[in-house]
Symmetry: C2
């Protein structure tokens, strides 16, 4: 079977070169006579690839030395509890409500402090409100930088007087980011970084030093920071795949090059959507549009199921919108090629010309 | 490079057939035009493999219908906190101290109840004490069925008046087990089940119904049980590899066949160790010997480093003992072939004949 055009929202497309290398090394990693999944996590070979992945991520995102990089498990959903469990200090916890994932993060924090909504984009979640109503005695403010379901994304990040925490699961490594704006960044890997099963956390060391200690060791960031994320057995194979993705991003020219490529991909699709307002309607407000997830509807919503089926026959996979909002969603993570986007844009144009 | 004889303690050898299939399917799983790591966890294809893995595990271990099977993340170390967080009910928590992992499990439980040692095999941990001093008001008793570092293993499980919880990370699926003896079984995958990054939990439904609710949702077993472990994005690729291992075990004849094969493998090595008492000394007491991890020393301990290096030149990898006890350890999980064990036994015999 030929490879399809994979626009899944996550887990999502991975670079084909990465997959081919992983397949070639599956039973013998670099002459060890073992696959990566069979290496001891205490072996020199695993240790090297583990630390290389950390170093590459530091280089790609220009992570300052006073930040720790952690490779954890459990996905962003697990960070929803680890963030407040570690960082709440008896004060209030402010959450920017820009969608259901932001809302879930806030819910989990409720056990650890008094949560409140610092900004609210509901109920339609088509915008990214720029104003933050930060209350006195706030321990941190939490934002979700890209909202996959609605196709909205922060362009700029707020300057606040309190620590800023970001769920970057769906746009990390898609663009340069000033890490210093954040005290903690977390991201499940399964969109831009690699396969599901590993979570990246980037955290200011000073914040860790103040973190709560009355927690199980395994739930404390400091436990993992002290051992370079080798306190317990890490998800070695997912970390290996993620490391291959980092190498691939470096070869593409790094995150600045990814940003340019991603901006062009997104612009190509938004252009088609905007060119045929009698056929397509964008979901997100224009100024809040995401470069990662392009969400839209057919004007003729009854035709959407047939549209998705027809797309699938052409090899365009994963364009059905999230069940909460319906419609269509095309995800354009780093590994989605410009060629895939061009093919889809041409097909959308032909569809619109027929219907328009 | 040829495949080596991999006796790693975990992550450990995987069946070569499994790795070859995974490599072949890396860029195209069953004609989808996508690799498994690229499939949406909400897709029909992933859903099928996810549930097939659950069904296969149920069949292999004869798990009764009134137990839930969960695929979680974080390894056994994460279960050290999830077990008491969910199952402690204000009473005491009894732990069988049969090694450092058992001890770590007990430490994490300290935040959730009054822990005590129900049986103690320390400080050498060469035995499996059969007697359990269960105190009144005990919520559960926790055992570690196989102790990788020391090479000890429970042959029989206690009949207690309180719920029994077992860490089976290093011997699950190596032998038939009467699941009904336990209220909860957990196991990191990276020894007998597959790659690191997925954790199996088998739990009596009745126990879940009584579990604590004042916990973050992500830490509650019931959250995952209610959604067939699809509450959040599961570690899809590790689960896929684990599923391939389940299929492989079924082809080998199931866990009874694995037990026979494992017993023969272990007997072969213990036979050599016992045949040359002037060269080798077994670590574990004979009646407590593990069929998964054969631990021993050279009488001439100063020769161990050279011995390990010489073994490595012959293609025998991973036989160095854990840093806590030193010496030698040969791990014989399901995927270690009888041929690998025969080769090692022959080499050990030749070594002993030369030295003896």
């Amino acid at each position: 079977m030929e490879r399809v055009f994979n626009f899944n929202a996550g887990p999502a497309a991975m670079p084909e070169d990465v997959l081919r290398q992983a397949a070639a090394e599956m039973t013998d990693y670099r002459g060890t006579g073992m696959g990566v999944a069979e290496l001891s996590h205490r072996s020199a070979e695993y240790d090297e690839l583990h630390h290389r992945a950390m170093t590459d991520l530091r280089e790609l995102l220009a992570i300052p030395d006073d930040y720790d990089v952690l490779f954890l498990q459990g996905g962003a959903s697990h960070q929803f509890m680890m963030v407040p469990a570690n960082l709440a200090r008896g004060g209030k916890l402010g959450y920017a409500d820009t969608g259901v994932w932001a809302h879930k993060a806030m819910e989990e924090a409720g056990l650890y402090g008094q949560t409140y909504t610092v900004t609210n984009a509901g109920p339609d979640y088509t915008t990214i409100p720029p104003d933050f109503a930060v209350q006195d005695g706030t321990d941190y403010v939490h934002i979700t930088t890209n909202n996959t379901i609605y196709g909205t994304q922060y362009r700029e990040f707020p300057d606040l007087a309190v620590p800023l925490v970001a769920d970057m699961s769906s746009d990390i490594l898609s663009r340069p980011v000033d890490v210093r704006k954040f005290d903690l960044i977390y991201a499940g890997a399964q969109k831009n970084l690699g396969p599901a099963g590993v979570t990246v956390v980037i955290v200011r060391k000073e914040r860790l030093a103040q973190a709560n200690t009355r927690l199980p060791k395994i739930l404390q960031y400091r436990t993992h920071a002290a051992k370079d994320s080798l306190y317990n057995t890490p998800p070695t194979y997912p970390i290996y795949l993620m490391g291959l993705v980092f190498t691939w991003v470096k070869k593409q020219g790094g995150v600045a090059a990814m940003q340019a490529r991603n901006a062009a991909k997104a612009a190509r699709l938004y252009e088609v959507i905007d060119a045929y307002p009698e056929v397509f309607t964008g979901h997100a407000a224009k100024e809040a549009r995401s470069q990662m997830n392009v969400t839209f509807n057919l004007k003729d919503r009854a035709a959407e199921a047939d549209f998705i089926a027809a797309a699938k026959r052409e090899g365009f996979v994963g364009i059905k919108g999230h069940r909460l909002v319906g419609g269509l969603r095309v995800s354009l993570y780093n590994a989605v090629t410009p060629e895939a986007v061009d093919a889809l844009a041409a097909w959308l144009t032909a569809y619109a010309e027929r219907k328009g």
